[in-house]
């Protein structure tokens, strides 16, 4: 696996734990940054607030985005992410409970790279996480990181 950071945008602590557990089970050892809501996620991505001082160009290998987050909704996060030239190419996977068609359409039209529905069955969930890891961290050829300065 490459060394990229995984940004997990998820407010449900249960889902956070389960996602991390699923990663551990699949030997995904990359660093995982967990942000609890959309604002925090954007803060991390744009190195603001708590994350001031972080190198903005050090993009995560993949952003796992849950929709319907408090404060700023997941789709809004995506919208802002894609609007900013620094982050617009950041691989973003929508990982959500929703199966509503409108969410799918909006997610893709806002530029999501993937849309994955979280299965209730933990075994299937683990499998989904494994495949996300396999694809985005291993198979997918990411953009070369920009040099600082």
């Amino acid at each position: 696996m490459n060394e990229g950071i995984i940004l997990l945008v998820e407010d449900n602590p249960d889902d956070v734990d389960l996602t991390l557990r699923a990663m551990r089970k699949n030997k995904i050892l990359n660093e995982v940054v967990v942000t609890r809501d959309g604002t925090e996620a954007l803060d991390y991505l744009f190195a603001r607030g708590t994350y001031a001082g972080r190198n903005v160009n050090d993009l995560p290998a993949v952003v796992l985005l849950d929709l319907r987050r408090p404060k700023i909704d997941g789709l809004e996060v995506l919208q802002e992410l894609r609007a900013d030239p620094r982050t617009k190419l950041c691989p973003t996977v929508i990982l959500t409970s929703s199966r509503e068609e409108q969410d799918l359409i909006r997610g893709y039209s806002l530029g999501a790279n993937s849309y994955i529905r979280k299965p209730v069955d933990f075994d299937q969930f683990t499998e989904a996480v494994r495949q996300i890891g396999l694809y985005w961290l291993l198979l997918n050829e990411s953009l070369p990181r920009k040099k600082i300065g």
Binding site: R21, S97, D121, F122, F125
Partner: protein
């Protein structure tokens, strides 16, 4: 002269050829029979003589054989006595006092052996059974104390002959003749034992006497001791079971002399068995019967062949001789046949026995006489025939069996066939059945009664329909019996026609008189009718006028007539009412005065003159009191009889009630529209709310479930060592329940989405859809033996998404409910239901009870236990929603264990 043929005189039977019979009635047959009578006893006698020869020979052979057997028995007895005597002599010599020296003993024994062929050795045995001295040195010291014959002598017997036994030293079959040697006091001193080798008996007895036969000697056990012709016999082949059962009879003392079956092939053997006295043995002699009888048969054979040859020769000679008689007889017979056929040419010449030659002469004379008489007869017949042929009447003669014997040319013409073809046939052969029946009835009358009959009959002849005056006369023989009939009939067609013509001419005249009279009567009647009619018409006219007036008055519509000047000429009661004025006031007034808009009324009036009529012309009539009545006018021109326009006839319809109703409807419509708008807004709001709700459900209800499942799994994985099996089971159940709930939520959402989503009807190919779903279903379970029968080219105008949901559910159900059957057939097709196309999915799976048919489509209702067939119970509810949204219906038919069929319609597109 005519050729000889059947004639009236020839009613008698023809000469028939005899058929062969038994006992033979032909001359040749009789001769052969005679010969047989002579020869058969001779042959039988010969057979009896030969048989006697055979019997005698057989008896002789039996006797000779018996004697041979006796001779063998005697010979054996003599041999045995000789040996015993020698043994006695040896015994005396050995027990002499003083005892002789050993070499003397041995020499004595050896010399004695030489005297008897077949004697192998002689031994001197002490009382303990040990051989002290022997002609054969190797026998010395051999112990024989256990042998039965030795025991017998020890126990006091003078001598003993053993049964066949195996020699102690040589090991081959021998027997012994032994003798006890005693002193004067009777005390036993020793035993002399002679060992006999039966192989060499041939030298002892006169076995050559047996010739080609055989002889045998059997011991007490029935074991074969010796056999001639000599052959090496093993111990087993000597066994008593190999000997014939009759041997045991001889051993018991009976003499047997008989012919016995020998081989399974049927060969027989002459056998004599005779007991050998004193020792209980038996001797037999035998030879093959065939061999013994061969000389006699050799004598008999040539003699019998000779007899048969003589017999055959006798037959041949007899047949040759018989020809001399039969030949002339045959010629006489053929000549008689020829005369019978009427062939008198030539006479018969016979050379043979004198009686036959005389017979032939007599025959020739008879033939000539017959010939002459026939000639006379034929001439007489010919005269009759010419007579019969010359008349125009139809004449024929039939015999008692109905065969035509004579038909004259008039009759032949009437039948339409030449006389030769008719003669010899019957009525049935000639006429069609219905005509024949009439003829035959007449014939039988004549035959039965013996009387003449005369009738007039009609018939279709080749020259047209004809009427005959027919007469039939019986023909009788000398005894007064009817043997036929003569029929004479005359064609009376022309006479009949003449009569008919006259009759019809008279009839016609009468008819014309009757017609003319009737015409006159009719004319008179018509005249009267016309007068009466005129009176009736006048009356009717008067009535019609009154009737029309009352019709007009009775009308509820105001009616008015207006003249060319626009003045009212007539008005009815309704017209008076609507204006509030009397008839008198109205008539003569200008019509437009009574309308709210007089100019519009006048325009309508002019339109009538222009177009001939107006329809539904709207006007308002003003009442005297001021109120108005809306009316629709229908008016047309009316003309006098000459076609001149007199004026306008106008009828008004009061439409105030209609106007009121219209106003009311308009008001109601407005109200309804407003309410629809309101309700639509309400529904839209509710829908919005529902959408938000289901979105929330989709999102927020699933998250906790995932938590429950995930952490249960985590517990199972991380704490399995601290959980007992029951705890783990509970956790697994938590997981199962969680997943089921998740499935329920998904199904519910699908159901609600199907209800909410917008419908886009388009052309959907259900065949392609069903095939795709079937493939998907089969993919995870390729091992199932399921057949999908999918109707081709099923296209509907419906929402593709929703149709997929319907087929997925129905086919998925069919797949699911057939899973417990080893073989399944699932069918998708179309049928007609009340003239509407009904699509169906049919399976032969678990089926359901029709009593619950209406529960099938209720959400979460399940007819099968969850452990039997998985599912949430939403599928069919979904199907129903979709079908209803399409304006169709869904229903199911089935029975428990008999499969189910789900039908749906899709309503008008």
């Amino acid at each position: 002269m005519r050729t000889p043929g059947p004639s009236i005189c020839n009613l008698s039977k023809r000469l028939e050829r005899p058929t062969s019979r038994f006992p033979p009635e032909s001359i040749r047959g009789t001769l052969i029979l005679l010969l047989l009578v002579v020869l058969v006893p001779v042959l039988l006698t010969q057979v009896w003589i030969y048989n006697d020869w055979l019997e005698t020979r057989r008896a002789t052979e039996l006797q000779a054989n018996l004697e041979l057997a006796r001779a063998v028995a005697d010979g054996f007895g003599a041999y045995m006595e000789g040996v015993l005597r020698q043994e006695l002599a040896i015994g005396i010599a050995l027990t002499a006092s003083p005892p002789p020296p050993a070499n003397t003993v041995n020499r004595l024994l050896a010399e004695s052996v030489q005297q008897y062929p077949a004697l192998r050795n002689l031994g001197w045995v002490d009382l303990r059974g040990r051989v002290i001295a022997s002609s054969a040195p190797e026998m010395v010291s051999v112990e024989i104390g256990d042998r039965p014959y030795f025991q017998e002598i020890i126990s006091g017997q003078g001598w003993a002959v053993s049964d066949l036994l195996l020699a102690r030293v040589e090991g081959d079959p021998v027997f012994t003749i032994s003798r006890g040697v005693r002193d004067q006091n009777g005390s036993l001193l020793g035993v002399v034992v002679a060992t006999i080798d039966p192989k060499y008996f041939g030298k002892t007895f006169d076995v050559e006497r047996a010739g080609q036969g055989s002889i045998s000697i059997f011991d007490r056990q029935g074991r074969r001791v010796y056999r001639y012709p000599e052959a090496e016999l093993s111990w087993e082949q000597r066994d008593p079971t190999y000997t014939l059962p009759v041997v045991s009879r001889a051993l018991a003392g009976e003499e047997v002399n008989d012919i016995l079956p020998w081989t399974p092939a049927g060969d027989r053997r002459i056998m004599a068995i005779t007991p050998i006295p004193d020792i209980g043995w038996a001797a037999s002699a035998g030879r093959a019967e065939a061999e013994a009888m061969a000389p006699v048969l050799q004598d008999i054979l040539p003699q019998s062949v000779l007899s048969l040859l003589v017999t055959a020769l006798a037959f041949t000679v007899a047949i040759v001789i018989s020809r001399r008689i039969i030949g002339p007889v045959h010629r006489l017979r053929e000549h008689a046949y020829a005369i019978g056929r009427g062939d008198f040419a030539g006479s018969v010449k016979v050379a043979g026995p004198a009686e036959l030659e005389q017979l032939a002469d007599a025959f020739n004379r008879m033939g000539e006489e017959i010939h002459r008489q026939q000639k006379v007869l034929r001439e007489s017949e010919e005269r009759y025939r010419t007579l019969v042929e010359s008349v125009d009447d139809c004449i024929y003669v039939k015999d008692a069996q109905g065969h035509y014997l004579l038909v004259n040319s008039a009759m032949a013409r009437r039948i339409g066939r030449p006389a030769q073809e008719i003669i010899g046939r019957t009525t049935l052969d000639i006429y069609p059945p219905e005509v024949a029946r009439v003829t035959m009835e007449m014939d039988s009358f004549v035959f039965d009664k013996g009387e003449t009959i005369r009738v007039e009959r009609e018939e279709d002849t080749p020259y047209g329909h004809a009427v005959f005056d027919a007469r039939k006369v019986p023909l009788t023989n000398d005894a007064g019996e009817v043997i036929g009939l003569v029929a004479v009939s005359r064609d009376i067609t022309e006479r009949k026609q003449m009569e008919d013509t006259l009759r019809s001419a008279r009839d016609e005249l009468e008819a014309r008189v009757r017609e003319r009279t009737a015409e006159l009567a009719r004319a008179n009647q018509e005249l009267k009718g016309e007068v009466a009619q005129r009176q009736e018409t006048e009356q009717a006219l008067r009535q019609a006028s009154a009737y029309n007036r009352s019709l007009i008055e009775a009308s509820l519509d105001p009616l008015v007539t207006i003249n060319a000047e626009g003045k009212i000429t007539d008005v009815n009661l309704a017209g008076e009412k609507v204006t509030g004025r009397s008839r008198g006031e109205i008539i003569g007034a200008d019509f437009s005065d009574y309308f709210v808009e007089p100019e519009v009324a006048r325009a309508g009036y002019q339109q009538v003159f222009r177009d001939g009529s107006v329809q539904d012309y709207a006007l308002e009539i003003r009442h005297r009191d001021g109120h108005t009545t809306p009316v629709l006018y229908n008016a047309s021109l009316y003309r006098d009889e000459a076609g001149e326009v007199i004026g306008v006839f106008a009828a008004a319809r009061d439409i105030s009630a209609q106007k009121r109703a219209e106003a009311e409807i308009r008001k109601l419509n407005d109200d309804l529209e407003r309410r629809v708008v309101e309700r639509t807004a309400e529904l839209a709001a509710a829908n919005k709310e529902l959408e938000a709700f289901s979105y929330s459900v989709s999102h927020d209800l699933r998250a906790p479930l995932r938590g429950i499942d995930g952490f249960s799994q985590a517990l199972l994985e991380d704490y399995s060592d601290r959980l007992d099996e029951q705890g783990k089971d509970h956790l697994r159940r938590v997981r199962t329940a969680t997943l089921r709930m998740a499935k329920l939520i998904d199904d519910l959402l699908t159901l609600s989405r199907l209800t909410r989503s917008e419908m886009h009807r388009e052309l959907v190919d259900l065949t392609v859809l069903a095939q795709a779903i079937a493939t998907e279903l089969q993919k995870p379970q390729p091992e199932r033996e399921a057949t999908f029968i999918i109707a081709q080219g099923v296209r509907v105008y419906a929402d593709a998404q929703l149709m997929r949901a319907v087929l997925e559910n129905l086919l998925g159900n069919a797949w699911k409910f057939t899973s417990q059957h080893p073989r399944a057939t699932i069918e998708f097709g179309i049928s007609k239901r009340d003239g509407e196309r009904a699509y169906y999915v049919r399976d032969d799976g678990a089926g359901f009870d029709m009593a619950y048919a209406d529960k099938l489509f209720v959400p979460f209702q399940r007819l099968h236990a969850a452990n039997e067939f998985a599912g949430t119970g939403v599928g069919l509810a979904t199907v129903q929603r979709v079908v209803r949204r399409h304006g169709g219906q869904v229903w199911a038919e089935g029975a428990v264990g008999k499969g189910a069929t789900f039908f749906f319609t899709l309503g008008p597109a």
